[in-house]
């Protein structure tokens, strides 16, 4: 094993050597730099191997051959090895990345770089406080030097401001060291840590405070970090990458970690508080940023804050400390460095300028992987780390910390995903030809820079795999559906036909293999998710080309859904939940105008997901693999809160009223075949979650309020308001989207009834809603495709042009409205039987009125599009493409079959459900004997109903044909019109604001209070962010005062020891 000291020696030696080389031996200098970095990395890697694989133990290295306190000692353990690798690799890759600049500046710049990296390694390795100070000083000076690599003029002033701050920091650190030495008589961290706390009281405590605050300042905590942000903004991106990943994210936080050995437990809350404040505040302020590098700077501050908070929680993290802190730290290092490196490719500094990346799938993949890492999404290390962290915080009852961490994460995800939306959806900036000479190009794809970025990408996925292996749970990479989804990333180059066929085959096959494992309830959901998804995918055949990005996203969503159904414990359930959320987000974002809607979708979804996470964490109370069935055994004081958190989380997905505002835009703006997937299929995931929750937890009371009763009201209100809002939409897809809100309200209502029939009704809605909403979205999508608009009033009279679409919509609306003989009626019938056995009466009222309101929008949908007056533009229109029609016809058939024999599916579920309601089963399920379905109250025979209606209809039709056999089709304007001829179709088609009188009467109910609430909240956050952003004036003196103020405030607020 190579001695650790060689890392320092090589770095320092090479730096000196570089000074000796002749100025114009640039190649040799560069080779020396890279060579020494590679050998340093090799040493670190060898040690890591020694610790991780060969089971080695921590090694102490004594310089000068003597033990401390007579000489400085270095320590090499697994944590140090990892951090050294991070530092050296970020240096190495950055050196490759900025080779051009380094060549330009020559050997001196390279030697400064080496000193920087060496100093950071020293900070990590040393166990001596004075030595720590020396290495910090080296790092500071090197930083100031490296800042000059940037061509940006501001970098100079940023460097100067940094020096001012550094002086203060050095003073604090030195004072701290002097007094610590005075009190303890030692400079060795471990020796001082061994000194009894009593000795350290008084002046010792103050001395420690100075040291801690100095080292903390190097981690750039909010608000004493204006200088750091200026550096991030103006430095060369490759340096910012090192500055963020290696200096702040690795060396400084590790120094804090080491120093805390001296201070002991009592200082942990201080570090936690500073970390949390930085995490939340930096992410909040980042909302108002438009400069990409400054945004990344804020994000860095936030992430380092999060790591500090984790360090502050080390007293409860126990054996998981390294796993959690490491997961977050490495995610931050790789992702932030990667993002800074990408920023170096881009010529302009506005966030929206990143739209130039759009045509480069690999860069987009890199960007997505990096922001997913930062946001803590699976399968990346930060996901496992955050999961464990949240579990432990909840178990230890540190709920405030938990809340702040999740809040900060949500804020961070908001601006990161907003940024991603810019990349995919904003106008690609154009550059005039004459501008090219004086400005840098918009996007410069330099091979060695790309190599650096892609190596970060590879590292991110490698770490994801590694953390899966290390975690106490299964590695998510071993989940077959996920692998299947990811494999589509490799297939991006083949055509849609092949990919689509593979996708359909895969989904059907997975259903078939898993079939024996499902219970009846799971069969229903799995069938909708997998088989149902396959049917909708048939429509995707209409797209030509390669459709890059679609299949990985779609398959990720379906993988999440498939994993959700069979998830047995909370970890797998939550991971599946995140997968389906991300996959669906990418799919929604594909829509032409869906940028803001996809953003609000992901924010609401992640918010909901965090509530679910907290709920599970509270419920688990430290159990590693928390079986979902154990939700039933959660004890009283926590149980209702768990219920509440999970229920709100799931209701976010089903778009219950109040949490619904993301849905209309997201569903309406999505692509033709995506809308049915996210509406017909995805919404059911929330219902599935609610079913799992209710089945296990049953009724819960909070402050004497029955929570299921509240849910009953929410369901009823959602059904009512969702339907009412649908009535007033002009956009056909928005109408359907609001209708989905209403339908989910019905299903929620059914579940909240908490009786067997209610659940059966909910399941009936699950099945029906999948069929007819998928069908309607496809029909409307097909029509929109042909007419080029989604505004219904611009259509009209399309029945003759698109008869099959008309039939699909007709069958669909009859089914939605619940008119017999189609299957929607079954849902209504079960509903009436369910409410009769319920103990509640009032919420039903809202459901009663929702039914007829549905007629309004349904009639409008079919009338305004297909009936009425045909427009001149549409006279040559053709039926929707075959592949869009095919699934619709399958749905028509399915609706018919389900209408006639609902028992095929439902009787098994009914039987399966009855044990769950056994104790309350004064009223049982249904009797499915023979043709008639009977309940305790009434009866229903689908087949005779169908037959009777069909016969009457056929007879009357025959009669009309007989008496009216000579009827002839007349032209469009041949109507009774006061003996005149209408002027134009546009003025004759009564369509716009179709329900004007209804708006007059009921419009007051649909004031957009909820939308306004969320908008105000968003506005408020942005205003606050904008206000506090001004706090960073850019003036070095101000920054110095801020730092002093920070020190004083922390001192005053720290717990008195």
């Amino acid at each position: 094993m190579v001695n650790v000291i060689f890392i320092i020696v090589i770095g320092l030696g090479a730096a000196f050597l570089l000074g000796l080389l002749r100025e114009n031996w640039r190649n040799a200098a560069y080779a020396l730099t890279i060579g020494s970095l590679v050998s340093m990395a090799w040493i670190a890697a060898r040690w890591l191997l020694f610790f991780a694989v060969e089971g080695g133990t921590t090694v102490e290295v004594f310089t000068a051959g003597t033990e401390p306190p007579f000489a400085i000692n270095l320590r090499m353990g697994i944590a140090e090895a990892v951090l050294l690798l991070v530092v050296i690799f970020s240096g190495l890759l950055s050196a490759v990345y900025m080779s051009k600049s380094l060549f330009r500046l020559g050997g001196r710049a390279m030697s400064v770089l080496l000193v920087f990296i060496m100093a950071l390694c020293g900070i990590i390795l040393t166990r001596d406080i004075f030595n720590l100070f020396v290495f910090f000083e080296l790092a500071v000076i090197a930083t100031a030097g490296l800042l000059l690599i940037s061509e940006n003029k501001q970098a100079l002033s940023a460097g100067f401001k940094y020096l001012i701050i550094s002086q203060l920091v050095s003073v604090f650190l030195l004072i701290g060291i002097i007094f610590t030495y005075h009190v303890s008589g030692s400079l060795n961290i471990d020796t001082i840590a061994g000194v009894s706390l009593d000795t350290m009281k008084g002046i010792g405590s103050l001395a420690f405070f100075f040291m801690l605050i100095a080292v903390l300042t190097e981690a750039k905590p909010f608000p004493a970090n204006g200088w750091a942000l200026d550096i991030y903004e103006s430095a060369h991106p490759a340096f910012s990458a090192m500055f963020s990943a290696a200096m702040a994210g690795s060396a400084a936080v590790y120094a804090v970690d080491k120093l805390l050995l001296i201070g002991g437990q009592q200082w942990l809350p201080v570090v936690t508080a500073i970390g949390l404040l930085s995490f939340v505040a930096a992410n909040l302020l980042a909302l108002a940023q438009t400069n990409d590098r400054r945004t990344l700077g804020y994000s860095s501050v936030g992430q380092v804050g999060l790591i500090l908070a984790v360090i502050g929680q080390r007293d409860i993290l126990g054996d998981n400390y390294l796993f959690i802190a490491g997961g977050i730290l490495l995610s931050h290092a790789v992702a932030k460095a990667g993002l800074y490196w990408i920023s170096g490719l881009i010529g302009q500094r506005n966030l929206t300028d990143w739209a130039v990346l759009r045509r480069h799938p690999m860069l987009i993949l890199s960007f997505v992987s990096f922001i997913a890492m930062l946001s803590g999404l699976p399968p990346f290390p930060s996901f496992y780390a955050k999961w464990d962290l949240v579990m432990i915080l909840a178990t230890e009852n540190r709920l405030w910390i938990l809340a702040f961490i999740l809040l900060g994460s949500l804020l961070e995800a908001s601006y990161l995903f907003r940024w991603f939306g810019y990349i995919l959806k904003r106008e690609t900036p154009r550059q005039e030809k004459n501008e090219v000479e004086n400005k840098s190009p918009l996007l410069s794809l330099v091979p060695h820079k790309l190599l650096v970025i892609f190596s970060a990408l590879a590292t991110s996925w490698g770490l994801a795999y590694l953390w899966g292996e290390l975690s106490a749970y299964d590695n998510l990479f071993y989940a077959l559906p996920l692998l299947f989804a990811l494999s589509f990333l490799l297939l991006e180059w083949v055509s849609v036909w092949i990919k689509n066929t593979l996708a359909i085959a895969g989904m059907v096959a997975y259903f078939v293999i898993s079939y024996p494992l499902y219970d009846p309830l799971q069969i229903i959901f799995a069938a909708i998710f997998l088989l149902g998804g396959a049917v909708i995918l048939l429509a995707s055949y209409h797209v030509h080309g390669r459709r890059i990005g679609f299949y990985p996203s779609a398959m990720l969503m379906f993988a999440g859904l498939a994993m959700l159904v069979v998830a047995e414990d909370s970890f797998h359930f939550f991971a599946a939940w995140e997968f389906l959320t991300i996959g669906s987000y990418f799919m929604i974002l594909r829509g032409k105008n869906s940028e803001p809607h996809a953003l609000s979708y992901i924010i609401f979804s992640l918010g909901g997901a965090f509530l679910i996470l907290t709920g599970f964490a509270l419920a688990a109370q430290g159990v590693v693999l928390f079986n979902l069935g154990s939700l039933a055994h959660v004890a009283a004081p926590i149980a209702p809160w768990v219920f509440l958190l999970l229920a709100i989380g799931f209701m976010t997905k089903t778009a219950a009223i109040g949490l619904h505002i993301w849905l209309p835009g997201a569903h309406a703006e999505a692509e033709t075949d995506v809308s049915p997937m996210v509406s017909g299929i995805l919404l059911k995931a929330g219902l599935f979650g609610l079913m799992v929750l209710l089945m296990n937890m049953g009724k819960q009371q909070l402050y004497g309020i029955e929570l299921t009763y509240v849910m009953l009201w929410i369901g009823a209100l959602t059904a009512f308001l969702g339907n009412l809002m649908a009535v007033f939409q002009e956009d056909a897809k928005r109408l359907l989207a609001y209708s989905s809100i209403g339908q989910m309200g019905y299903a929620l209502f059914g579940l909240a009834l908490m009786n067997q029939l209610g659940w059966l009704m909910a399941l009936m809605f699950v099945i029906n809603h999948y069929i007819y909403k998928s069908m309607l979205f496809l029909s409307v999508g097909g029509v929109a495709k042909r007419t080029g608009t989604r505004d219904m009033y611009k259509m009209g009279g399309l029945i003759a042009m698109m008869p099959l679409s008309f039939i699909a919509v007709l069958i669909g609306i009859i089914a939605v409205s619940g008119v017999p003989p189609l299957s929607g009626f079954g849902g209504r019938w079960i509903f009436y039987n369910a409410i009769l056995s319920s103990e509640y009466r009032l919420p039903m009222m809202l459901i009663f009125i929702s039914g007829p309101i549905a007629f309004l929008y349904l009639f409008r949908l079919i009338h305004t599009i297909f009936l009425g007056q045909l427009k001149d533009d549409h006279r040559q229109i053709k039926e929707a493409p075959f592949w869009i029609m095919l699934p619709q016809m399958i749905y028509v058939a399915a609706l018919m079959v389900f209408a006639v024999v609902p028992g095929l599916l439902l009787r098994h579920v009914d039987a399966y459900l009855s044990p769950f309601f056994a104790e309350s089963a004064a009223r049982g399920g249904l009797n499915w004997q023979g043709l008639t379905i009977t309940s305790d109250y009434g009866y229903w025979s689908p087949i005779p109903i169908m037959v009777i209606i069909a016969i009457i209809f056929a007879l009357l039709f025959a009669w009309l044909v007989f008496v009216n056999r000579k009827a002839q089709k007349v032209k469009q304007f041949n109507i009774v019109y006061s003996a005149e001829r209408p002027f134009r179709p546009e003025t004759t088609h009564f369509a716009w604001n179709f329900f004007a009188p209804y708006r007059k009467a009921m419009g007051f109910l649909i004031q957009p209070f909820v939308t306004r609430f969320w908008e105000t909240l968003t506005e408020l956050l942005h205003t606050i962010a904008d206000l506090f952003r001004r706090f960073y004036t850019g003036n070095g003196q101000t920054y110095a005062i801020q730092l002093l103020a920070f020190v004083v405030v922390v001192y005053l607020f720290r717990v008195e020891f």
Binding site: R828, Y937, G938, Y939, I948, F994, P997, Y998
Partner: protein, 301 residues
Amino acid sequence: MQFEWIQIPYALLTLSIIINFGLLMNAFVAKIGARVGRRVGIPIYQNYIDLIKNYGLRSSITHGVMFYLGPVFRLTGGIGLLMFVPTIYGSVMFSNFSFAGDLILALYFIFFGTLGMALGAGESGHPHAAIGVSRGLSQVTMAELPLALAVFSIALQYNTLSVTEIVAAQQGGVLNWTLFTNPLAVVAAMLSFLGSVMRPPFDVVLAPQEIPIGPPTEYHSSYLALMQTNRVIFPIAKMVIFMNLFFGGADNWPVFFVKIFMIYMFAVFIGVVFPRFRVEQSIRWFLIWAVPIGILAVIVV
């Protein structure tokens, strides 16, 4: 109860009785109205003549398939509704096809004809048709609510959804009628009834003076004849439900005729007295007067 072939002729018999009764009753009501206005009025057989005339008319055009099917939907709705509810209590002969479904089936099937008719009228492309449908649908959302509440209330009261059982529970004296055992529900339902018979003050849907008869504007000859037939059957089918639910049903035809006539006259009386409401006015009226009674009925039952 199961299907037997003999039920088909029985059902046809019911249907023919209802059609004849309806034709006569409509004419009779029209005549009463005329006499109140000091006019002579139509002869009592006038409806027969109109019907035969319309079926016989040769001029017929169509605006398309849905236009053609509209009246078929409409009449299927009327006849079907009649067939799904037992007409005469205790009679095997006149219980029709009520084995196919309970009260809920009947209530939802009401919309079948309305929907089909609205679609047919829509295809005619006449703006008045669309305006009429818009008004009708708007009004029905609130007009149906008290009825739904009343039905919920009496389903709770009798603990069943079977029409036959509800009628059975009301036997044994006038005081056993729902009218007396659950008056709030009956009041709510009867107010709702006003909204569904297309008489003033709730006839803005057809509004002959403003939008020449609304949805059916373009219908003529045999289409119109089918719809006229429905206009005879449908209100009676609906009133059969009301009679069964609230007024003790009927165990023979004379009682049936009297009760149906009385229920109908309730709407007629109100209609003669009040002027027409606009849509938003009628919605508010139902919301303020009828719905609270319905809610009360649900709470106190």
